[in-house]
């Protein structure tokens, strides 16, 4: 009896409290976001304005609301900030140039190989990001086949090395983020109704005009999503610069890493993280406004 009663009351609680239902369903997500996003962000903000305790040991800081940390952290590392955005932009543009034809071919021209080609695009994810980057270090290194071949063809000199260079860092980032560019592009190209292309042809547009006036505008959401998914992680990336770069190609991620782990200067690391986050947010907002794709998500 008691059980039945309890069950009934639960049913009525559910049916009666329909208004609260969305909140109940949202709760896991909200709790997750609060614990793993809001709290760490608050902690980061709190840390970013601390200063060392006078006479304290390495790594001991106290809250003094020292907002000058932001100015100092930025001014001391503006070179790496600039480099991060430059490399991220280059990697994004390169990835777009490679991914667009690839996605176009898979979506519109691949026929029965479509699924197979898609698997190939995603396949690199089956191995660790780190391992793949280290593999590139081997391939482009003195022990790999690329350097001796290029030297044999007199394309590069005896002293030139492909690793530990800006080229290697940008190439590594382009490679690592390529699937993030390809998949959204594929999704939006695949959705294009073939009849719009036929209609364009019927109206005497040639291939180039059809692409410029129909395909490209219709694939813009994919372009915007792909560039964002590439640019944002690329700007904060430090793995490629650490493994494929040299001391003169360090990015802001490397500075944050060394401030945190090597110098044990948590306030600077926190201030830099915040500055990077805000800079990316501003750039992305401007970009989305300019590209006018509100139906992005």
């Amino acid at each position: 009896m008691a059980l039945i009663h309890a069950a009934r009351s639960r049913v009525s609680a559910f049916s009666g409290g329909k208004a609260s239902m969305p909140y109940v369903l949202l709760a896991p997500g909200l709790i997750f976001l609060f614990t793993f996003f809001i709290l760490p962000i608050a902690n980061l903000a709190q840390t970013s304005t601390q200063t060392p305790i006078a006479g304290g040991d390495t790594g001991e800081y106290e809250q003094t609301f020292h907002f000058a940390n932001y100015v100092n952290a930025f001014l001391d590392n503006k070179e790496q900030f600039g480099r991060s955005f430059l490399y991220a932009t280059l990697a994004t543009v390169l990835a777009l140039a490679i991914a667009y034809p690839l996605a176009y071919a898979i979506a519109l021209k691949s026929g029965k190989f479509k699924n197979f080609l898609l698997v190939l695009v995603v396949a690199p994810f089956f191995t660790s990001f780190l391992l793949r980057t280290i593999a590139w270090k081997q391939i482009l290194g003195e022990g790999g086949f690329v350097v001796p071949t290029l030297r044999g063809l007199h394309i590069i000199g005896e002293q030139t090395s492909l690793t530990a260079s800006a080229v290697a860092v940008v190439a590594g980032m382009t490679y690592n983020f390529l699937p993030f560019m390809t998949l959204p592009l594929y999704a939006s190209l695949e959705r294009i109704d073939p009849r719009t292309l036929e209609a364009s042809g019927d109206l005497y547009a040639n291939g180039i005009t059809t692409f410029r006036k129909v395909t490209l505008p219709l694939s813009m959401p994919g372009v915007v999503a792909g560039t964002l998914l590439t640019f944002i992680p690329a700007a904060g990336d430090y793995v490629n610069a650490a493994i494929l770069g040299n001391p003169n190609t360090k990015m802001i991620g490397n500075v944050i890493d060394s401030s945190f782990f090597k110098i044990v200067d948590y306030p600077t690391a926190a201030a830099l993280s915040f500055t990077l986050m805000i800079a990316i947010l501003i750039l992305v907002t401007i970009y989305i406004r300019k590209s006018g794709t509100d139906e992005l998500v």
Partner: protein, 394 residues
């Protein structure tokens, strides 16, 4: 090898403040990272397993223990397990002192297990652990072999009477090179920065070794110097880096660059270079620069957060590595300076040539060419490391 550390021996008490929200969150990341590492381990690494009294977890540097040809079996550890029944979960998890400290310090502060019962940081970092109360005092009854420590190392300013630390290996930092690419070898920093090596040089991310060698080259006494002299040496390094001479400022992974041929000349560690030479048929060599090299020790420590049950196991392991025969066995492989008395006599039995090696048993003359970087105050540590990292592009 006299220690010149002038650190205050006072041990700061462990920060016992209640777990603040900030502390908790700072810890979460570190715990997560360590948890991920632990998950990668091959069993016996879970929290429950760590409590078992038959395991000891040891975090060490890479290429720092005798290993067989397969690279998976450590003969001295096997022997220890046979003798005592204690299993050793051995991990080459230390690549760089700062990096390792950065990974575990959140948990140390919170008093949470860091996943290791023995760690082996370098002198200055061991000093920091001891100063902050992050180590356990040894139970001397479990380490009778501690009397075998070399007289010159028996007492250090950061740990009077060696109550909480014992040296594991002594490290010389100097110049290393690829004998095929640098046939004449390296004797000075001018040789290192010769045009043929441009862009193929790596230096150590260990500030005291790289900066120490540069300062010695500039004629500065590294046991007693001022900030201006240090910053002057940093400028030298920064110039070499911005001019493209140096391809990397690295921890232990500089060895990979040497093996692959990407680096041909390095500021590196003695034992590494001899092991590489051994494994690659004399392709590499090492020398202390004419202007002098640096010397330091890595030290056995038992973290304050190690479970009580594993402490005795850790002590037994330390005791085992202080047996002269075992110390000789390890030294014969790692080629670092052994801190154990009687190891030289034992080495005669293993390999008489090695018993005469200046790099395992340095003579007075060799020792006089090695200097110990002076201790830095916490404030100096921060500003000097910042300047060094900045030069390294960070």
């Amino acid at each position: 090898m006299a220690k010149k550390d002038s650190l205050s021996p006072e041990t700061q008490s462990l920060i016992k403040t209640a777990i603040s929200r900030r502390g908790l969150i700072a810890g979460v990341g570190a715990v997560g990272a360590a948890g991920a590492l632990a998950a990668c381990g091959s069993g016996g690494s879970g929290d429950s397993a760590s409590g078992a009294s038959d395991t000891v977890r040891w975090a060490n540097w890479t290429l720092y223990l005798d290993v067989d040809a397969s690279g998976k079996v450590y003969p001295s550890i096997e022997e220890f397990t046979q003798q005592t029944g204690i299993k050793v979960d051995y991990r080459e998890d230390i690549n760089d002192n700062d990096e390792f400290y950065g990974k575990v310090q959140g948990q140390l502060k919170l008093g949470k297990d860091i996943g290791y019962d023995i760690v082996t940081p370098t002198d200055w970092m061991a000093a920091r652990w001891i100063r902050l109360g992050y180590t356990k005092e040894f139970d001397t009854a479990n380490i009778p072999n501690a009397v075998n420590v070399l007289d010159s190392l028996a007492d250090v300013s950061f740990d009077p009477g060696r109550a909480r630390s014992l040296p594991y290996q002594g490290i010389m930092a100097g110049l290393g090179w690829n004998t095929a690419k640098v046939p004449k070898g390296l004797h000075t920093l001018d040789d290192l920065f010769a045009p043929a090596n441009k862009g193929k040089i790596t230096v150590l991310s260990e500030l005291r070794d790289t900066m120490g060698i540069i300062m010695l080259y500039q004629g500065v006494d590294i046991t007693n110097f001022n900030e201006a002299q240090y910053m002057n040496a940093v400028d030298f390094l920064a110039k070499k880096i911005s001019d493209g001479w140096i391809r990397g400022v690295k921890g232990n992974e500089y060895k990979e660059d040497l093996i692959s041929g990407d680096a041909t000349a390095v500021i590196g560690w003695s034992g590494d270079m001899f092991q590489l030479a051994l494994e690659n048929e004399g392709k590499f060599d090492f020398a202390i620069p004419d202007s002098g090299g640096t010397f330091s020790n890595d030290n056995f420590l038992i973290p304050s957060v190690a479970p009580a049950e594993s402490k005795a196991n850790a002590e037994k392991l330390i005791n085992y590595y202080y047996e002269p025969a075992v110390a000789a066995q390890v030294a014969a492989y790692v080629n670092y300076v052994t801190p154990v008395k009687g190891a030289q006599a034992e080495m005669e039995k293993i390999d008489p040539t090695l018993a005469k090696s200046e790099y395992i048993f340095p003579s007075e003359a060799t020792q006089s060419r090695l200097k110990v970087f002076r201790a830095l105050t916490p404030a100096e540590e921060t500003s000097f490391t910042t300047a060094f990292q900045k030069a390294a592009g960070n």
